[in-house]
């Protein structure tokens, strides 16, 4: 990269940014100060304060300006960057000093940006991204264009020379296979998808807005809208309720039409294709968008179905892909209107053999139901009872009486349907009552494992597990502590054995059949009829 007798490039020694960085940092600080104290400025400009106070505010602003300049200088003089031992190191800080180290092979993108100030002085701001959880991990406010180019060239050359060997996470050469269209939506399908969306939720939101509007009318009407309608307009109670029913129906119809239009615009002409290395989705009426899911980048799958969709055999499928901080939502592929064969095809591509595997199924402990009943059933009930006692009305009393059995039934159904399937290669979660949800995760996509335990869980010898991936996390709640610990150890051994950077699986993987012998494995029949519960400890 450099000649033997040439002086060492600047990036091997701790280097400062261009002095123009002082201006850039100052501009950022002033912008942040204005963002926080804009209301003070507005008051000052409007001249609503007496003169002495204005003077005080001026002094405050002056102090702010001096502070900003001082801080900019400190940040400039304390910021150094250099490359050492295959790492890019950024040291920075005013009061709090920090040193960020990024392995060169982890750098994914290098971006130059030029604002107006940058262009005047021919400098650029340099931002480097990894696929880490922070935004732009390395940010250099201003660097001479020539130096920035040199740095970029070096980093690109280094990456080229030290490219990871085959069989790494994302560097697998995959054979080009012919594309197969898995799903194509026509007008009838769009109609079906639009109609089968959760209208009760959107209708409920609209109805809630209407109630809030009626409450806002109270000061204008001088009494509650109900009283106004019954007393001033002479509506009887029965007429009022039938009127309310019509209003609710109207909102439901509006929400159905709105959802239909939105669905048509978003998923018009949807085509879901199996490509050689993953999947591709094309859809959209006004903006035609095309998203690709590269198979090794898919972190986990989730498919959901509400009751109406279940009747029609439809699923809403989501493919969660690894992405940098800013891309995470854009990288999720949503495929509505899938039928079982499409779900199976995607599942088989992501997790070969998942359908034929013998899964060990576990259920959350009964505490899962008890806790949810307490927080969703009991706590709101206290509020409802207080409200009814203070401001008695028959509808509120009816809600109070109906609340406990309805929430208990709802939570019990949720509890019955929640189960976790474990296999040597991954996790298959089933949950949801109205909206049934299935999640499939391969252990090799896990980035970190967390075990959580509250005081009440400790009493019951239970734990929660969270598996973090590069595109969100998957949870297991209220399972036996022993099972949880074994599972955590297994997943860690699996992840650490596989690595993600080219190690041969055969000599590093510590594979083991997951046999959690201390816990009874239920039969499929027991799981289906809900007669099996994990023994409590």
């Amino acid at each position: 990269m450099s000649e033997p007798n040439a002086p060492a490039p600047f990036y091997f020694e701790p280097s400062r940014q261009s002095p123009i960085a002082i201006l850039v940092i100052l501009a950022k600080l002033i912008r942040a100060l204005i963002g926080q104290f804009w209301f003070v400025l507005v008051l000052l400009l409007l001249g609503r304060r007496p003169g002495s106070n204005n003077q005080f505010l001026l002094w405050m602003m002056l102090a702010g300006a001096v502070f900003s300049i001082g801080r900019s200088l400190v940040i400039y003089f304390r910021t150094h960057f250099y490359i050492q031992d295959g790492e890019f190191i950024l040291e920075k800080g005013g009061f709090t000093r920090s040193r960020l180290s990024v392995a060169l092979d982890k750098i994914q993108t290098i971006t130059f940006q030029q604002t107006f100030v940058h262009r005047i002085f021919n400098v650029v701001s340099v931002e480097m991204d990894t696929s880490g959880s922070k935004g732009s991990e390395i940010s250099i406010n201003a660097l001479d264009r020539k130096k920035a180019d040199e740095l970029r060239e070096y980093l690109l050359a280094w990456k080229k020379e030290n490219a990871a060997p085959e069989s790494g996470d994302a560097s697998i050469p995959l054979e080009k296979a012919p594309e197969t269209t898995l799903l194509r939506l026509n007008f009838g399908d769009l109609l079906r998808i639009g109609l089968s969306q959760n209208h009760l939720r959107s209708g409920g939101i609209l109805l809630g807005l209407a109630f809030s509007f009626s409450e806002n009318l109270e000061p204008i009407l001088g009494k509650s809208t109900f009283d106004y309608l019954t007393e001033e307009l002479g509506l009887s109670l029965n007429v009022f309720w039938s009127f309310a029913l019509w209003i609710a129906l109207f909102f439901l119809i509006v929400s159905v039409f709105a959802t239909l239009i939105l669905t048509a615009v978003r998923f018009y002409g949807l085509r879901f294709v199996r490509t050689g290395d993953g999947f591709r989705l094309e859809a959209g009426l006004l903006t035609r968008r095309e998203q690709a899911a590269y198979l090794p980048k898919i972190q986990y799958l989730r498919w959901t179905a509400n009751p109406l969709q279940r009747l029609l055999g439809l699923f809403n499928l989501r493919l969660y892909q690894a992405a940098g901080h800013e891309l995470s939502t854009k990288q999720t592929l949503q495929v509505p209107g899938c039928y079982q064969p499409q779900v199976d095809a995607v599942r088989e591509a992501y997790f070969p053999g998942a359908g034929e595997l013998t899964w060990s199924w576990y259920r959350p402990h009964r505490l899962y139901f008890d806790q949810r009943l307490f927080f969703i059933g009991l706590l709101p009930l206290i509020g409802l009872v207080v409200k009814t006692a203070i401001d008695f009305s028959w509808p509120w009393l009816a809600i109070c009486l109906l609340w406990p059995p309805v929430t208990a039934w709802w939570q019990w159904q949720l509890f019955r349907r929640k189960r976790y399937g474990l296999s040597p290669e991954g996790l298959w979660n089933h949950s949801g009552f109205f909206n049934s949800v299935q999640t499939l995760l391969l252990w090799r996509n896990v980035q970190a494992v967390s075990v959580e335990r509250s005081l009440i869980e400790a009493r019951h010898q239970l734990v929660d597990l969270t598996f973090y991936t590069a595109s969100g996390s998957v949870h297991i709640e209220n399972i036996a502590q022993e099972t949880g610990y074994k599972l955590r150890d297994y997943v860690l051994a699996k992840v650490e054995g596989w690595g993600d950077n080219g190690q041969s699986p055969s000599n590093r993987t510590r594979e083991a059949e997951l046999r959690l012998s201390s816990v009874t494995e239920p039969s499929r029949e027991q799981m289906d009829d809900g007669s099996w519960t994990e023994p409590s400890r």
Partner: protein, 196 residues
């Protein structure tokens, strides 16, 4: 007849999978070499390293600064509103919460620890809600070390280890010895370098 879904090699014997397939995404369900589960490394047997005593000092200083500011604002508000009757319950509430958080600072400090293993880093924390987060070195994207002015005077620092994607999977250990943070950072760099 079964085929590897990616390289299309034909599967010959159920026990050995796809012999010519060098692809790691081949179906792995058939080539498990079973080892007894007891041989898997367990986190439960790990000796955890507690935080240094200076960390408690630093946290109590932080508690003192925060509570001092809270008391000051309360006193100013009380003085400017004509020293009314609500001062007594307000100061009592302040005293109660200050004592509670002082107690919590000790409890949290006593229950926070970390462990460095051959292949991963573990951090446990929390009093009411215990959390044990484990990050394998092979998943580390970058590492950051931080040091505030008071921590600097006590020789302490913080280390953050970032993984890909979700922020919940990133591990942060606050208020350990700065030299220790440096050593951990070096160790992780070696490990991630060795894995490349």
């Amino acid at each position: 007849m079964q085929y590897c879904h990616l390289c299309k090699a034909q599967k010959t014997t159920p026990k050995i999978g796809f012999p010519k397939c060098s692809n790691q995404y081949r179906p792995m369900l058939f080539d498990n070499q079973q080892i007894p589960p007891g041989e898997l490394p367990s986190v439960e047997t790990v000796q955890f390293q507690p935080l240094p005593p200076q960390a408690l000092k630093l946290r109590i200083i932080g508690w003192g600064i925060f509570q001092g500011m809270l008391l000051l604002s309360l006193t100013i508000s009380w003085a400017f509103t004509g020293m009314e009757w609500w001062g007594l319950p307000a100061f009592a509430a302040w005293g109660f919460q200050a004592a509670f958080f002082y107690w919590m600072t000790h409890k949290r400090f006593n229950r926070e620890a970390y462990a460095i293993r051959e292949k991963d880093l573990i951090h446990i924390k929390g009093y009411w809600q215990r959390t044990q987060l484990t990050v394998p070195y092979s998943r580390v994207q970058h590492v950051e070390i931080k040091q505030g002015p008071i921590a600097r005077s006590l020789g302490l620092g913080s280390i953050s280890v970032y993984t890909a994607g979700s922020s919940g999977g990133s591990l942060g250990i606050s208020d350990i010895e700065f030299t220790e943070a440096e050593r951990i950072k070096q160790f992780i760099a070696q490990k991630t370098g060795a894995d490349v």
